[in-house]
């Protein structure tokens, strides 16, 4: 096993442990952790299976194997960013509703006093 493989595997495992720690501490919700765990597992698989990238590139008809990484990674990142924008939009509208309800409730309470 080459040095880089060992380094890659070690870092991927540390990353996986960190994500699990975040979930346990309640700082990362499970539904958002899925994508990170899947990414880490992919990294670990390709760290063990050195020829894997070449095999996948050949299979898909990509001439330069590293290009497959760039294409795949950028595509995945864009999709995930879009997903986060959707999540933020939802949070923003819920936030607005809460603020409006609080303002009206405060007024109701003050009227009673």
């Amino acid at each position: 096993m080459a040095k880089i493989q060992i380094i890659a595997i070690a870092i991927s495992l540390l990353f996986l442990l960190y994500i699990i720690r975040l979930i346990i501490k309640g700082k990362l919700r499970e539904e958002y952790s899925i994508v990170w765990i899947v990414c880490t597992i992919v990294l670990i698989v390709f760290s063990f299976w050195r020829n894997g990238l070449e095999v996948m590139a050949n299979l898909l008809g990509v001439y330069e194997a590293p290009n497959l990484i760039f294409t795949g990674a950028i595509f995945a990142i864009l999709i995930y960013l879009l997903h986060l924008s959707v999540v933020i939009s939802k949070l923003q509208s819920q936030n607005k509703q809460l603020a409006q309800d609080i303002a009206m409730l405060k007024e109701k309470m003050e009227k009673k006093n």
Binding site: N95, A99, Q100, I102, A103, M104
Partner: protein, 238 residues
């Protein structure tokens, strides 16, 4: 007895707000109409909150800043939940003189429309605002006419009277940023009748416009997109 809610959104208006509220409370109204002032303090950084707590009004203090659309909608929700017959939006900076409220109501009585827009541009009287703003207004007039076939001369005017049917719709959805031109599309696609009446407006007495000079282009772009989205969303729902 018809009850009108005057919704006044206020952001950092400690200097102007007292006069605005007083003006509205002492404004002349048609017989059998009563008005309550609802001031929505959009998490102002100055003393607006303290000032309005001492005025004759219903103070709604937002815990976070929502922007003009969110603030106005808070007032609309309050008006709808508390069974008001009409709501009228009046800016907190003194641009909309309370003496013109009566004109809006009378127009509503005579023409039985759902929305009455107080417009600066039917004939050229009073404060007319800047050239770039007028260009924007003409552009929205063209866009609204293109999409829903109605001509509104002053689509950026916030000085509007809406009835209870409209209140129900806007309590559910009202645009966040720069809501006025988009709201026209929203009203017209929901089948509401829109009327326009000439009013005189003043130059603002305090505070700054929600639209700065540099954001004019962003404003046009954002509002155009919002108008088209609203158009598509409501068309496809039907």
């Amino acid at each position: 007895m018809k009850r009108i809610a005057a919704v006044v959104p206020a952001y950092n208006e400690e200097k102007a707000i007292a006069a605005v509220v007083e003006d509205i409370n002492s404004a002349a109204l048609p017989e059998d109409y009563a008005i309550d002032v609802i001031v929505v303090n959009d998490c102002s950084k100055d003393a607006t909150g303290e000032v309005i707590s001492k005025l004759k009004c219903i103070p709604l203090n937002l815990p976070i800043n929502l922007g003009i659309g969110g603030a106005v909608q808070t007032g609309f929700k309050y008006a709808f939940e508390n069974n008001y017959d009409f709501a009228i939006q009046i800016d907190g900076d003194g641009q909309h003189p309370a003496s013109e409220i009566q004109k809006l109501i009378e127009f509503q009585i005579q023409n039985t429309v759902d929305v009455v827009i107080g417009s600066r541009f039917i004939s050229k009287e009073g404060f007319q605002s800047s050239a770039i703003r007028r260009f924007g207004i003409n552009y929205f007039k063209w866009l609204n006419n293109l999409l829903v076939g109605i001509k509104v001369n002053d689509s950026t005017s916030g000085f509007r009277l809406i009835n209870r049917n409209v209140l129900e719709v806007v309590s559910d959805y009202y645009p966040d940023e720069y809501p006025e031109p988009e709201a026209i599309i929203l009203y017209s696609l929901n089948g509401f009748k829109i009327g326009e009446v000439q009013v005189q407006m003043k130059e603002r007495q305090g505070g700054v416009s929600s639209i700065g000079a540099f954001s004019s282009i962003y404003y046009m772009f954002k509002v155009s997109l919002a108008i088209i989205y609203t158009f598509i969303r409501i068309k496809f729902k039907k």
